[in-house]
Amino acid sequence: MLVFIIRRLMQAVLVLAVMSVLVFVGIYMIGDPLAILASPEATELDREAIARALGLDLPLWEQYLRFLGAALTGDFGKSFVFGQPAMRLVLERMPATMELAITATVMALVIGVPLGLYAGLRHQTALARGIMAGSVLGFSLPNFWVGLMLIMIFAVQLGWLPASGRGETVGVFGIQLSIFTADGWSHIVLPAITLGLSKCALIVRLARATAREVMLMDFVKFARAKGLNEKRVIGVHILKNIMVPITTVTGLELGTLIAFAVITETIFSWPGMGKLLIDSIIHLDRPVVVAYLLTVVLLLVLINLVVDILYSVLDPRVRLGNAK
């Protein structure tokens, strides 16, 4: 197990190193930040001074080495737009994004697992068919369009819920969270539904497919033969077994969710790091884009690692050491 974790972490470092070169060289090619930073009236001399101050006059490889050296100490440079350290900007907004992604995941699980379980156990009933048809709709609906429709119905037509922002937040251990205030809840509901809908559909389908498989297994027949009531068979024997694939998939999808938050945050003006990325791409704010990407890459690598470990804990049949 330890060998496995160390090997994975070393792979992660390699991926990060490759990504940092790709991202840095790639970002270097987009536009000229000077065109945005320097005012139109700036003289050639002013522009040179700005370029020198930001290190933009050096050759590319030297800029990269300077960047790498600083990055290892957690310094990704200052945002061209905000004038604050880029990494701090990203980290400041991370709680908002994580809060949104986790709320969406929990919603998808709480709604998806029971529906999928029902559709799997009673798969001939009309309700089960209806659930499955709904799930096709769930992952066919374009994510961003769902957001627009929710805004249109609940914010514009009915006026029940706010269309943008994060609402009132409460500091928990120094992190601002909005799920602890009623106002915060009213703000998070629509974006969380938007983000979680397709995941919910995925979980329904997965839960149904696994439930149908598990139902036919010997241990379920044995539990029934033992005279256990239906509640216990479903609640313990079947549910426990369908949770293994669901945990794995949900964990792996958390990364996609964080990436898709870029869209949801843009629609709902949710002040997370996804919105920061889009704004930074538009303003050619290189340090922030680089800081965001490397943060997300690190996050994805960590999520994948945790999911792999969790998988082996949940399913004792899986041994990580042998799985090459």
Binding site: I30, S140, P142, F144, W145, A259, F260, I278, L300, N304
Partner: protein, 303 residues
Amino acid sequence: MTDTALPAAAPAPTESPLRRIIAEFAESRLALLGVAMLVLFVGAALLAPLLVPQDPYDLATLDILDARLPPGEVSGTGLVFMLGSDGQGRDMLSAMLYGLRISLFVGVTAVALALAIGASAGLLAAYIGGRTESIIMRTVDIQLSFPAILVALILLALLGNGVDKVIIALVAVQWAYFARAARGAALVERNKEYVEAARCLGISRARLLLRHLLPNCLPPLIVIATVDIARSITLEATLSFLGLGVPVTEPSLGMLIANGFDYLLSGVYWISVFPGVLLTLVIIAINLVGDQLRDVLNPRLKR
């Protein structure tokens, strides 16, 4: 039919494999509905120039006074806006059919290219093995561990707007699915007798790969390709919505929805709603067909 191409099918089956697949496919009414919808959409997209009441790209026919008219209103020139008009006084129905053309074109082209590149890479990896295989498959693994939307977003931020650039970005994020599936299928097929027989006949490596291995690896790839067209279209719409996709001069369905976003808060719903409904219907149709294809072409479920 295809019987002539398969003389080796010894105990002559009463029906050809293709006919069996079609018959099994037709068992699902939903799948047939999907096919019907797709035929309708593709036909409408191809014939758009003949069907639309107004050429949405011809700026001369647009009148700003006709802007944001609700569905059913009549324009200054007597044209009826069946689905309303957009911010520039463009007929929504016409703009949507042209948008559908672009969305379908981008989706199909991107998947075709991704299929060609991915299948080649996957087949080569399985056939050659060794270091080539590990390089290709490591690249696939790393690529698949990143969410497609993020990779496409960054690529487009680097490349800039344009239909060709969106296609490049979509191919870049999708080839890996095909490479993985093609390798998986080829690893199984590689050890079958017909491959050995073909090798004994002394045919060239290229011929063995293209004429023998590839056709037998196709079924899973076709299933992925079908569903992938839906995914490509959604991804393109999403990127265009964020302003990083197709240029404003050639609005796809996603771009039309984005244009309507600005008016949505003032109750002008039709600019965003109708293109979104069309987009959703297209994706549902493709998914219905893909679902049934998966069941029909999956050898594990064969009765």
